[in-house]
């Protein structure tokens, strides 16, 4: 029996809840939430690929492109509006993704993972070696105007989180629509049996190409938002450990639903922040143990908790 899909109202509700948090929770928490939501967009891209059986260890490639598009737009080209920059970042990802996607759509499994990783590391070294791009120390990104509203008029500590949530939840809604579309389901088919997919007259290569670009757009928009949120970009955005973290969060959240990356992202930031605070020398171990426990006891990620919960409810309702 199919449950009624309540994702869109939930997304609206979450948007209102998160926006309320900007006004009613301490600043450090709303900041943490903003970082988590922006980064969860990148994870959404990772999940989009994972649903098609592809693991990208190189989403930092697009994350970094987005960040540097934001940085250079305001520092070098005088484009300081976050709305325009988000669109530019998305376009940048489409162009970059279309070029490297031509190569990547021929590969699967470990080969796909390693190639994405290699690409992000190439971008990393190009930036590190190039003082004109800010070198390894990176550069600062000033607070943007947001859809014409200058940071002097409205406190960016309020406007930037609201803008981030609006962009993110819009993309979440679109991603949900995509997951439920024919192309979205074709991803699941791609993971299960590529040959049968081809017999359905769908091109597996075209599908991988498309999904890679979509995931790239999500990562790039996340990167642009992060550039404004943290006020600084550096090549670390493209470093493989950054990409690895996104895969970690994807595993933590699960791939079962469009909201899983959001849950994973928020939980991850909170855990990391507390681990940093309580175990300054052991925080990596805390994260490692959590990942290990997740894989052993909850291989489907945090989202599987809601499935279990709903199942139990159904059992209770049954006579």
């Amino acid at each position: 029996m199919r449950r009624k899909d309540r994702t869109y109202p939930i997304l609206v509700g979450l948007f209102l809840l998160f926006s309320g948090a900007v006004f009613f929770t301490p600043r450090w928490f709303s900041f943490l939430l903003t970082v988590a939501v922006a980064r969860s967009l990148v994870v959404l891209g990772v999940v989009l690929l994972m649903r098609a059986g592809l693991v990208s260890f190189g989403q930092g490639f697009f994350y970094c492109i987005g960040g540097y598009v934001a940085g250079f737009s305001s520092n070098a080209f005088g484009v300081t509006d976050a709305g325009a920059v988000v669109i530019l970042a998305a376009l940048g990802a489409v162009v970059a993704g279309a070029i490297v996607g031509l190569l990547l759509c021929n590969y699967r499994d470990i080969f796909f993972a390693m190639l994405t990783l290699a690409l992000s590391m190439i971008l990393y070294s190009v930036i590190v070696k190039n003082p004109a791009l800010g070198g390894s120390d990176g550069f600062n990104v000033p607070p943007p105007t947001i859809l014409g509203i200058s940071p002097e008029a409205v406190d960016p500590r309020v406007s930037l989180p609201l803008f981030t949530f609006a962009v993110a939840f819009l993309l979440y809604a679109l991603a949900h629509r995509y997951f439920l579309s024919g192309f979205g389901y074709a991803g699941l088919a791609l993971r299960m049996n590529e040959i049968r997919l081809e017999y359905l007259s769908l091109s597996a290569r075209a599908l991988v190409f498309l999904k890679y670009i979509l995931a790239g757009v999500l990562a790039s928009v996340g990167g642009a938002l992060i550039a404004y949120i943290s006020g600084h970009v550096d090549p670390e955005l493209a470093y493989w450990t950054t990409s690895g973290e996104f895969v970690f969060i994807a595993l933590l959240g699960g791939t079962g639903h469009v909201l899983a990356p959001l849950a994973g992202g928020v939980v991850f930031e909170v855990i990391r922040s507390y681990a940093f605070d309580l175990a300054p020398s052991l925080w990596q171990m805390v994260l490692g143990v959590i990942l290990l426990l997740m894989i052993i006891f909850m291989p489907e990620g945090l989202w599987s908790l809601t499935e279990r919960f709903l199942e139990r409810k159904r059992d209770e309702a049954a006579p």
Binding site: W28, V128, S136, S230, D234, D277
Partner: protein, 427 residues
């Protein structure tokens, strides 16, 4: 339905517990200081942990009033110091998040920290936004106060400029007829900046110096076989290197094994961090990024710091330890100076007292003379490694006064060097 209620209840109470735990109200007598330094990763061993050790030692001693003159008063302005330690590892975004947590959640009064120049660049504007008094203790890039000016940010350690200019002056003094140099530096901002400053300064002093090799192996490469070969094939009088940590040790070990340092003298600008643990070739020029470690001038304060550090950690303090201690003593001096005008100084009072402050640390005199009074200025010291009676030591130590190795306030470092280092006073 019961299950759902419990679930919701737990979720809501967890959320409330998480969000509504306000920063604890200060008991009248404590000063909360956030300390951020590398506790994991490649920079933890050579820099982060020695700095953390020094922070613990100094906080402990100040709280128990065990520090000799001029710091023989308890705590900071009579307040007990409470230290909150945070790892510097991770991305700039992560460090910005943690910085906000320190200020907004833990409610620290001051943050002392940051070894990575990238982190310093990222943190400074955030400190300004949060109006959080922040002392950068180790990072070297002069960009921080040259590209912007900050009210709430101070740096009590000198910039990397003095290392490079000092190194150039030192080798010219050591070998007035030097003809050629080579450079091997890591391929990232620190390596490129160090080499550019060094070679530009050397070309001012010796316009006809020849550059034999200009090598930039990638960071954390660890294997320098090819680089050592080209340094051997094309020998120079000196080999400049700003390598640090494991890279430096690997380069020295692999170079020694192949006789690289028999005819050529290495200049290791951060070499002091490894002098007690590495078999460094006799005569190698060692830097400590200022008058730190073995180059610290003799004083009661220095003797106290050195002997207590050795007693507690079984190894002599290296420059990151000195720079961390220096940040605490700078803060103490500024805070207590501010107290002279008001019993309970505000942030603004402390800032006013801190600007253009002069204070002493275990490394001697420090002047907050650059960056509109926010950037420390110190002398640059170099010497050569030697084994005196089997114990690692330095000889031919030369000290260059701050005005000799640093641009005047308001002039960018590289512009000053390339413009012929005008106005340098070196006597």
């Amino acid at each position: 339905m019961k299950g759902r209620k419990t679930f919701l209840g737990v979720a809501v109470s967890l959320f409330l517990a998480l969000v509504l735990t306000a920063p604890p109200v200060h008991a009248g007598g404590t000063l909360k200081v956030g300390v951020v330094t590398f506790l994991s990763g490649a920079a933890a061993g050579p820099f982060g942990v020695p700095a953390k050790n020094a922070a613990e030692l100094v906080v402990d001693a100040l709280n128990n009033n065990m520090v000799p003159e001029p710091y023989n008063t308890p705590g900071i302005g009579g307040k007990k110091i409470e230290m909150v330690l945070i790892d510097e590892a991770g991305s700039a975004t992560q460090q910005v998040t943690e910085f906000r947590n320190l200020v907004q959640k833990k409610g620290v009064d001051v943050v002392i920290g940051y070894i990575s120049s990238g982190h310093c660049l990222a943190i400074a504007p955030v400190a300004e936004e949060l109006k959080a008094l922040t002392i950068l203790f180790d990072c070297g890039t002069p960009r921080i106060f040259e590209e912007a000016s900050y009210k709430y940010v101070f740096r009590t350690g000198p910039t990397a400029t003095i290392d490079s200019v000092g190194a150039a002056r030192y080798i010219v003094d050591l070998k007035p007829d030097l003809k050629s140099v080579s450079g091997i530096n890591q391929d990232y901002a620190w390596g490129h900046d160090s080499w550019n400053d060094f070679i530009s300064a050397l070309k001012v002093l010796k316009p006809d110096v020849e550059v034999k090799n200009e090598l930039f192996p990638k960071l954390f490469k660890g294997q320098y076989g090819a680089e050592i070969s080209s340094l051997l094939v094309n020998p120079a009088d000196f080999i400049h290197s700003s390598f640090w940590g494991g890279d430096m040790e690997a380069f020295v070990l692999q170079g020694s094994a192949r006789g690289l340092f028999d005819e050529q003298t290495a200049i290791l600008t951060t070499g002091e961090t490894a002098m007690f643990r590495l078999d460094i070739p006799e005569g190698t020029v060692l830097g400590a990024r200022g008058p730190f470690g073995v180059y610290a001038p003799k004083s009661k304060l220095n003797d106290w710091f050195r002997s207590n550090y050795i007693e507690k950690y079984k190894t002599p303090p290296t420059y990151p330890s000195y720079k961390m201690a220096q940040a605490f003593f700078g803060l103490k001096t500024a805070y207590e100076k501010a107290m002279k005008s008001s019993k309970n100084p505000t942030k603004e009072d402390i800032i006013k007292a801190f600007e253009y402050l002069e204070f002493v640390s275990p490394a001697g005199k420090v002047k907050m003379a650059l960056g509109k009074g926010h950037q420390a200025l110190q002398e640059s010291v170099y010497g050569q490694f030697t084994k005196a009676g089997g114990k690692p030591s330095v000889k031919n130590v030369k000290r260059y006064p701050p005005e000799c190795v640093s641009p005047p306030d308001g002039v960018k470092s590289l512009d000053w060097i390339k413009g012929g280092m005008k106005g340098a006073k070196c006597d």
